[in-house]
Every structure is written in structure tokens, then in C-alpha cells.
């Protein structure tokens, strides 16, 4: 059994690794979060589910405070908390009823006889059950992203992209890239990539697409509207899906989505389920919603005296309201933004925060 301090250490190591970008890419982060939590479950000392929940919730707070902008971590912690609760209830001998205490609903509100489950009783072989369930989760993750060709999302590519279509995308997303390449294996179509200044990762994206013989055009972000009229579909990735179906995506996505709306071009968002979080956008100035990085890309530091006279901002994310998204393509099929609340309540327990 590990001491509390040791588990602290592995959490700190995890945070440090993510901050130093030793672990990068949402898939890798998802996998290593699950591993970390598994380690916590195995190595710390706990007797009841309540204790275990507390341990993980404490660590999750710590993680959230240090990594506010990594939705994958949050999402994985949420999934595992829910797994623990489910296994606890399944494992209890007197099994109150199948999904007690899982989703709060109007029905539950009326039927609840006793106060909510307290997770205090000792359930035999709870740890084994939980770990088994987590293995299922891992398989799901691996299926979804371990190898792009096997990915469920990528496999749907041909359903959404047709011959001779013009697809517009913005910035760089390895998922979108794999998706387009998968479609290109069977169909011929054209891709327009908005460069996504100031980081201009779109250039890199375009180079990669062009290498796999997809006809690719790079445009400036400002020309998105001008070219939208001839685009058939917008396919983008996202950083996060908010609880209301809105997106936290790379800066510039909102204007792409608005342009698409104006020309009635459908907007497809590729997002594996671990990008879904339970937070809402409270206000556009919301703390820790956006990430403002060094303004270097906007104005050069070496420009000298002007720097002390101006304000330069370099936000990384955009909020895209749900009404601008046509469809989410995720590892378990396509979902409309209005359905996101349902996915949320299926995957997480909403009061686990």
C-alpha cells in the first residue's frame, strides 16, 4: 500500500508531465488519467466506497486546480467516479434498485424514501469490480483512438463525405486529418484549410493532407466568409464540448460556424466522448474558460517601445454556441447538440464535482 504522500507524488508528476507537454494529445491524456486513477484505486488504502470517492474527489480537485484547461482529465475522473458508484450499488447485497442514486430525476425525487445513498457499507470485491469496469473503459478508449484507422469516428468518414465535395476545416486537428484521409481513400474531394492565425497550425495540416494526395487549399482566416458559399461541409475538431452542446474550440471556429450558418452549410464536429464536460458557459468573461497566451504571435516582442503603450491579447479558444453546430460525430455515432445533455447524464453523475 502506498502512503498518501506517494500518491500525491504521482499526481504531481502527472500534472508536471502534462504541463511540460510530456503527455500531449487528448487521447494520451485520457489514457494516462485512467492509469493514474487506477493506480490510486489500487495503491491507496480504503475500505468503503465513500472513502474511495473522497480520495478521488480530493485528487480531482487538485487536478482541476492545476489543469483547468484539460477537459479530458476532468471527463475521465467523472467517468471513474461514476463507475465506482455503479459498482458499489451493483455489489450491494440488498441492491435497492438498478440505477438508484445515479441520475437525479423528477421521478427519483418523488420516490426517494430514504436519504440518498451514503456508500458506507462494505461491499466485497468492490475493487475487483471497479477495476474490471475500468478495463472496459480503457478498451473503449483504445478502440476510439489507439490507431486512427480503427477509430470509430474515422470509420464514419465515408458516410459524411461524398465525392467532389468541398470541405472546409480550420487549424490542425489530428482527428480531422485522419477522418479526411480515411475518406480520401475512397473518394475524391477538395479541402480548404483556414490557417488559424496567429499560430498558423493550418499550414501544417494542409501539408499533411496534401502529402496524402488530397487536393488542399490554404486560406487566411479572413477569407472564410468569402469562400463559404462554395463549401459543401465544414468539418472541425474541438477542444471541449460544453454541457449545453456548445464548443470550446480553437479561436476562429465561431466565425467559421457563423459563416457556415449564413450560407446554410452544415457544420460537423468530430469529438470523441471524452471531450464532453459537465460545465456550462456562464459568461463570456468566465474565469478559466479561455486561455490567453503570450501575445508574441500577434505583436513581436522585439518591436520595442510600442509594447508599453498597447494591450495585446492572444486568446486560444472560441465559444461556439450549440445552435451553430449541426452534428457531433463521436465514437458512438452522430448526436445533435440538443442531445448532449443526455450523453452527459449517461456518462457522468452531474453532482460529482
Amino acid at each position: 500500500m502506498l502512503e498518501k504522500k506517494d500518491c500525491c507524488e504521482s499526481v504531481s508528476k502527472f500534472i508536471q508531465d502534462i504541463k511540460q507537454k510530456k503527455i500531449s494529445g487528448s487521447y494520451n491524456i485520457a489514457i494516462s488519467t485512467v492509469e493514474l486513477l487506477k493506480k490510486l484505486i489500487i495503491q491507496t488504502e480504503w475500505k468503503t466506497a465513500e472513502e474511495l470517492l473522497k480520495i478521488i474527489q480530493d485528487e480531482s480537485k487538485h487536478l482541476h486546480q492545476n489543469l483547468p484547461l484539460y477537459p479530458t482529465v476532468e471527463s475521465m475522473v467523472g467517468r471513474i467516479l461514476k463507475i465506482i458508484r455503479e459498482e458499489y450499488i451493483n455489489g450491494r447485497e440488498d441492491r435497492p434498485d438498478a440505477d438508484a442514486g445515479v441520475i437525479q430525476s423528477l421521478q427519483r425525487l418523488m420516490l426517494a424514501e430514504s436519504p440518498a445513498e451514503d456508500y458506507k457499507s462494505i461491499v466485497p470485491e468492490l475493487q475487483e469490480a471497479i477495476l474490471e469496469h475500468i478495463t472496459e473503459l480503457e478498451t473503449e478508449l483504445e478502440n476510439s483512438m489507439f490507431d486512427f484507422s480503427a477509430d470509430n469516428i474515422v470509420q464514419q468518414a465515408c458516410e459524411h463525405i461524398h465525392s467532389n465535395e468541398i470541405i472546409l476545416t480550420i487549424g490542425k486537428s489530428s482527428l480531422v486529418e485522419a477522418f479526411l484521409k480515411a475518406a480520401a481513400a475512397e473518394r475524391k474531394f477538395e479541402v480548404i484549410v483556414a490557417e488559424c492565425a496567429p499560430f498558423c497550425l493550418g499550414h501544417e495540416m494542409a501539408v499533411r493532407l496534401a502529402r496524402s494526395k488530397i487536393e488542399t487549399t490554404v486560406i487566411a482566416d479572413s477569407s472564410v466568409f468569402a469562400l463559404m458559399s462554395r463549401v459543401n461541409k465544414v468539418i472541425i475538431g474541438t477542444h471541449t464540448i460544453m454541457a449545453n452542446g456548445g464548443l470550446r474550440a480553437v479561436c476562429g471556429s465561431h466565425s467559421v460556424a457563423l459563416a457556415a450558418k449564413h450560407f446554410s452549410v452544415p457544420v460537423y464536429v468530430l469529438a470523441p466522448m471524452y471531450k464532453l464536460i459537465t460545465t456550462y458557459l456562464c459568461s463570456y468573461d468566465q474565469d478559466a474558460f479561455n486561455c490567453f497566451v503570450s501575445p508574441e504571435g500577434v505583436l513581436h516582442y522585439s518591436d520595442g517601445a510600442i509594447l508599453s503603450k498597447v494591450h495585446v491579447y492572444n486568446p486560444v479558444f472560441d465559444y461556439v454556441p450549440p445552435e451553430l453546430v449541426t452534428l457531433f460525430i463521436s465514437n458512438n455515432g452522430g448526436h445533435a447538440p440538443s442531445y448532449v445533455y443526455r450523453l452527459n447524464s449517461e456518462l457522468y453523475r452531474l453532482d460529482d464535482k
Binding site: Y301, L307, S308
Partner: protein
């Protein structure tokens, strides 16, 4: 930690990669820039945007993958030990080990390095920096580069990091203005010179350029004070007792390259990377600004440095606020404000471009701008703080005013309605005496309260006076003054351009004008021969491709706009007398005379104080046969009725015209006789 272990590691190449990356942080800046605060707090523990400077350095090292940090303290060692003990670095979860090494006897950085050599703790290439360096660099790739240099050149002992920043950049420390000559093919530093404001000449030794295909001279660099050193550096300090600072070291190595068989390389940081040293109050201010403006991302209050206490919220207009800060109704946080936890701000208080520490109590109707308040500061109602640093625990009673670069030491209590500008304040005189610093005993110390003693700043370096920016002696840039200076600059150029507003002068002509103005002012200062000046003007003329007409016009205009002659006629007269040959050269025909008169009208027209001397001026020119009577008369008669200046000027010259007419009549009559 033994030396043998280090040798073993060195012997095997494969082991080297897995070596622990060490950094040596010198916790003393060996100067008195930060007094009087530095009497109380060691400089690395001074709060910068509410976190100690040292915290930034350690965070930077940790993020860039350093595993072992040696804090080298020469004074206040116990405070550093205590600080590290209570910080997150001594927790078991920390991934970087921080050890404190004490050597009380060190007076300079050189001593410290020699001590380091004696203690033999350096095992391989290490990073050397002072504790006041703020950066967000990834060191590993640069270290890789340094090792590559070392592989090619056995003598490579050091790579110095520089950040590109144009002259006039706020974060360039005036103390660290450097000219660098480097070999572009190898990145070797060939020449390194700190340029004081006094010397305008730099002498490059000929070797700098000999036998090299390409040598770059650089003046667009900001020193970062981060050095990647090979293990040979501490012994080099030991061998050369005259190396007191790193600048000595660099100079020594470069001068005695052959003898010491060592070379130094440079590395220019990627544009996205930031590094600066907080060496003076000026840099304190500049780096605070950069942090608030997020150039140092991720070392900004809302991202990294939150381990202690709650997270900062990052709001619009660069306002950072911790949740427990309490704002009363009607108080305004304009922009670039940092508010730490548990601070209370009263009604109708206005704060802009400032950092406020923890537990501060700020009353009603207080005005704070461009200031740095540390923890537990109390500002009572109606007080006003501008361009000042206020250390922890200070109390400003009702209606106090601090301005123009006050530095207030900790625990000072200022009584009501004091108005203090440009001074150092301390709570008691004991620290000043204890220090045994002769500089201070010379100073006039004024007691202004039970716990408030004031002494004004004495400029230690006369250089700073010649600086272009108006700087407080303590180094704080007082922007309001800077701006007013700029405004006056604008006024000057404005007056020159005033009459051109309708038809703006093309750029080239303006440049030409400036060139001529330069030549002339130099001419009069250095008493140059007019023939040379004519030559210069002519070459400028071809350089900027201006027409003869414009040449004539601008030469006269420049002559009248000389800085010396801008106010009094006597000066103008002197200038005219000196430059008469030039005028004679250019103003040779009717057309030229017309231009000349136009230039006079435009230049003098903008300076009403000189109007009355206009007839005299024309008379001189007439007397020297530069202007002919006909030309003057013609000019006089072509009035632009719409311009009041033109009419007024013509009115001024009426006596002259009359005199001319009379003389004309006389000569007529004499002729007729």
C-alpha cells in the same frame, strides 16, 4: 555529491544524457539598487506581481526540466532556508530538489563561483543564473546546442542567452545595454561591450572581422542573464581572481582567448520565449508589466503561481483578481490591475496599472496608479499613490499623497495629509546606520513622522541623467513625464510642419530637411567649413532625389530652424553670418529667391515671437545681396488673403518695404538727375 562521482559521469557518454541537470541560482545581486527595501527583504524574496521573484525563477527551472537547484546565498541565508522549507519545493511531491548553500563571506559573484569550485558540487554542464531572472524558456534544447558547440570546440565554456528586443524597448535594462559581435557561422561571441550612455564610440578590434566570412554586430539584444556553463567555469573563476562579475568573466575570456583557451557562444531565444533580469526598479516595473500583459506565459498569476492560495481570475482589460478580494460599489479597476486575496477596496476608489498585495485595506476615494503595493498595506480614505513602490505593512493615513517614484520601506506609517514626491521612506533610521554604507550616511535624513523617515535619492551614476526616458533616480519610469516630454516633441515637429498641413511634404523631402538640419547644426557646433557643408547638402540632395527648388527652400528653412536659433534673433543672425557662403551658393537666381522668401515666411510665420525681427532678417539678406529688391517686392505684393499669418507678416515688414521704396525712389531720382 562528491567530485569523483562527477568524473565518473563525465567519462561515459551514455551516462551523460541521463545526468541530473543542475542549476546554480545566486541569491544576491551584489548591489544596492533595491534599497531601502533590500535592507529588510533579500531581493529574491521581493514580491513581483504578488509572488516572490525567487518563486518565478524556481518555477521556470522546474518547468524547463531542471532536476537539481543549488541556491547560493551570501546573506539572509536563514530566510532563504525558511522560505524553501515552507514552499512547495520541499514537499515530497516536488520533482526538483532545491538545496541551499551558504557562504557568508562572498562579496561578489566571482567569490561565489570560487566558493562553488571549492565545494565541488558541479558535476557537468549547469545553468547559472541569479535569483532575479524571470523566464519561460525550455532549456533542454538550448543545452543540447551548447553541448554541440562543446563537441566542436573543446574550449567552449559558456553559452549566453539573449532575447531580441529593439532599442528603446522598455524591458531593456539601461544598465545592460550591450553591443555584441558574433561570428554568424559558428555563433561564437567575438566582442562584447556594455555601452554606457556616456560613450558614443565603440572600438572594435580588427580581429573581430579578420578571417571571417560573416560577422554580425548586434545592438538589438536584451540581456537575459542566463548562462549555460560547462564545468570548467568555476575553475576559471578560481584561476583568475580579478573576475568579480560575469561581465568581467566574459571580457576576460574574450580578451585572453588564447591564454585561457576558452570561448563563449551565444544563443538568441526563440521569439515566443521570454527572459529578463530584475536588476533595478526600472526592470521590476517593466517585468511586472510584461507579466501582466502575459508575455511571460505560463508564468502569469492565473496559470502557474497559484500553489499558494486560491486561483486568480483573469478578467477583461488584464485585471487579475482573487475571489476573496472585496470590492465596494463604485470602485473602478481600470486596466492592468492585480488584486490578491482578502484585500478590501472602498467605495469610489480608482485603481489602474497597479499590483495590490494580500490583506491590503484600501479606503474610499483612493487613487492608485502605476504602483506596487505589497501585502498588508493600508491606504486610508482620499489617499493617492502614483508611480511608487510601497512595501508590506505600510500605513498611509487619510489624504496622504505619494508620487513620482517613492520607494517606501516596510512598516512605515505616514501621517495624514503628507505629500511626498520622489523620495525613499523608511520606518526607522536604524537600518540605514547599521548597514555601514557610507553613501547613506551622507544623505540627508528627514524625520517626518513617528515611524517615517525620508531621504531623497542621490543619483549614483551620472549616466542615467542623459537617458532619453525620464527616469526617476530609483529607476522607475515615470510615464506621465515621459509622455509630456513626447508631447513637447510633437509640438516641435508640429510647429515645423504647421504650414504644410494643407499639402503634406513628401517623405523624402522631409528626410532631406532633417539631414540638412543635422549637417548645419553639426557645422555650427564643430565649426566646419561651409564648403564641406555644401558638399554634404549636395550629396544628401542626390541621396533623396529632391528638386533644386526644394533644396533651396529646405536649406533656408533648416537654417532658420536650427535649435540654437529657434528663440532669439541674435542667434539667427549669428547663424546667418556663419552660413552666408551657403546661402550665396544656393540662392542665386530669382526663382531661388522666391523659395527663400517662402521658406522664411513659413518658418518665421510659425514663431510669432520672431515676427518683429523679420524686417531685420530681410535687411541682412538684402544687404548681403542674397535677396534683391524686386524679389522682396514681388513677395510682398503676392499676399494670400486667406491666411492671417501671411498678412500679419507682411504688415511686420512694412517699414522695410517703405525703406526699400524710398531707396528705390532715391536711386531713381539720382539716376534721373
Amino acid at each position: 555529491m562528491s567530485n569523483t562521482c562527477g568524473n565518473k559521469l563525465k567519462s561515459s557518454e551514455t551516462m551523460k544524457k541521463e545526468d541530473v541537470l543542475q542549476a546554480v541560482v545566486i541569491c544576491d545581486n551584489f548591489n544596492s539598487w533595491f534599497e531601502p527595501v533590500s535592507f529588510y527583504v533579500p531581493v529574491p524574496l521581493i514580491p513581483l506581481v504578488n509572488s516572490p521573484i525567487l518563486e518565478y525563477s524556481l518555477e521556470f527551472l522546474s518547468l524547463s526540466g531542471v532536476q537539481e537547484v543549488i541556491l547560493f546565498c551570501c546573506s539572509h541565508a536563514d530566510r532563504f532556508k525558511k522560505y524553501i522549507k515552507n514552499s512547495k519545493w520541499s514537499k515530497r511531491s516536488a520533482l526538483m530538489s532545491v538545496s541551499v548553500m551558504v557562504s557568508e563571506s562572498c562579496r561578489t559573484l566571482g567569490d561565489a563561483m570560487r566558493d562553488l569550485d571549492a565545494k565541488a558540487v558541479i558535476r557537468s554542464d549547469f545553468i547559472l543564473l541569479t535569483a532575479d531572472v524571470i523566464a519561460n524558456i525550455q532549456l533542454l534544447p538550448i543545452l543540447e546546442r551548447h553541448r554541440k558547440f562543446a563537441k566542436q570546440d573543446k574550449g567552449a565554456v559558456m553559452t549566453i542567452l539573449y532575447k531580441e528586443a529593439g532599442p528603446g524597448h522598455n524591458t531593456r535594462s539601461p544598465e545592460d545595454e550591450t553591443v555584441l559581435a558574433v561570428d554568424s557561422s559558428t555563433n561564437r561571441i567575438l566582442f562584447h561591450k556594455k555601452v554606457g550612455q556616456t560613450s558614443k564610440k565603440i572600438v572594435f578590434p580588427l580581429e573581430t572581422f579578420m578571417d571571417r566570412s560573416k560577422t554580425e554586430l548586434l545592438y538589438n539584444l536584451q540581456a537575459t542573464r542566463i548562462y549555460l556553463c560547462s564545468p570548467a567555469v568555476p575553475p576559471l573563476f578560481s584561476d583568475n581572481f580579478d573576475f568579480q562579475s560575469l561581465d568581467d568573466f566574459v571580457r576576460g575570456i574574450l580578451m585572453n582567448e588564447e591564454i585561457l583557451a576558452s570561448t563563449i557562444y551565444w544563443h538568441c531565444l526563440d521569439t515566443a520565449e521570454y527572459a529578463a533580469q530584475i536588476s533595478t526598479w526600472h526592470m521590476y516595473q517593466a517585468v511586472s508589466h510584461d507579466i501582466i500583459h502575459r508575455w511571460v506565459y505560463p508564468l502569469v498569476p492565473d496559470v502557474t503561481l497559484t500553489a499558494s492560495g486560491e486561483r486568480y481570475m483573469y478578467l477583461r482589460h488584464n485585471v487579475y483578481q482573487q475571489k476573496s478580494a472585496k470590492l465596494a460599489k463604485g470602485c473602478v479597476l481600470e486596466e492592468d490591475v492585480v488584486l490578491a486575496e482578502d484585500t478590501v477596496i472602498g467605495e469610489n476608489t480608482y485603481i489602474t496599472s497597479s499590483v495590490i498585495g494580500r490583506n491590503c485595506v484600501i479606503g474610499k476615494n483612493v487613487f492608485v496608479s502605476n504602483s506596487y503595493l505589497w501585502d498588508n498595506v493600508v491606504l486610508e480614505d482620499n489617499s493617492r499613490v502614483e508611480f511608487s513602490v510601497v512595501a508590506s505593512g505600510t500605513v498611509l493615513k487619510n489624504g496622504c499623497k505619494l508620487g513620482q517614484g517613492c520607494i517606501v520601506g516596510p512598516e512605515t506609517v505616514l501621517d495624514a495629509n503628507k505629500d511626498i514626491k520622489n523620495a525613499y521612506l523608511v520606518a526607522s533610521t536604524s537600518v540605514l546606520k547599521d548597514d555601514g554604507n557610507e553613501n547613506i550616511s551622507d544623505r540627508k535624513i528627514v524625520k517626518i513622522g513617528e515611524k517615517a523617515f525620508m531621504y531623497t535619492c542621490i543619483t549614483e551614476d551620472s549616466d542615467s541623467e542623459e537617458e532619453t526616458k525620464i527616469c526617476h533616480p530609483s529607476g522607475l519610469i515615470l510615464d506621465s513625464q515621459g509622455e509630456s516630454e513626447e508631447e513637447s516633441d510633437d509640438d516641435l515637429t508640429g510647429s515645423n510642419d504647421m504650414s504644410y498641413r494643407a499639402s503634406p511634404v513628401p517623405d523624402d523631402v522631409n528626410l532631406f530637411f532633417n539631414e540638412v538640419l543635422d549637417s548645419l547644426s553639426r557645422g555650427i557646433e564643430d565649426k566646419l567649413d561651409c564648403d564641406h557643408l555644401i558638399l554634404e547638402i549636395n550629396s544628401s540632395r542626390y541621396a533623396y532625389n529632391v528638386t533644386v527648388q526644394e533644396v533651396n527652400y529646405n536649406v533656408v528653412r533648416a537654417l532658420l530652424s536650427l535649435p540654437s536659433s529657434s528663440t532669439s534673433f541674435a542667434e539667427i543672425k549669428k547663424g546667418l553670418a556663419y552660413f552666408m557662403p551657403i546661402l550665396k551658393k544656393y540662392i542665386r537666381n530669382d526663382e531661388a529667391q522666391k523659395d527663400c522668401l517662402q521658406a522664411i515666411e513659413d518658418t518665421i510665420g510659425g514663431k510669432s515671437e520672431l515676427w518683429d525681427s523679420l524686417p531685420k532678417l530681410l535687411h541682412i539678406l538684402y544687404g548681403n545681396d542674397i535677396l534683391e529688391e524686386d524679389a522682396i517686392m514681388e513677395w510682398y505684393n503676392t499676399t494670400d488673403e486667406t491666411s492671417p499669418t501671411a498678412t500679419a507678416i507682411r504688415k511686420e515688414v512694412q517699414p522695410l518695404i517703405k525703406w526699400l521704396e524710398e531707396a528705390d525712389a532715391e536711386s531713381d531720382s539720382s539716376e534721373s538727375e
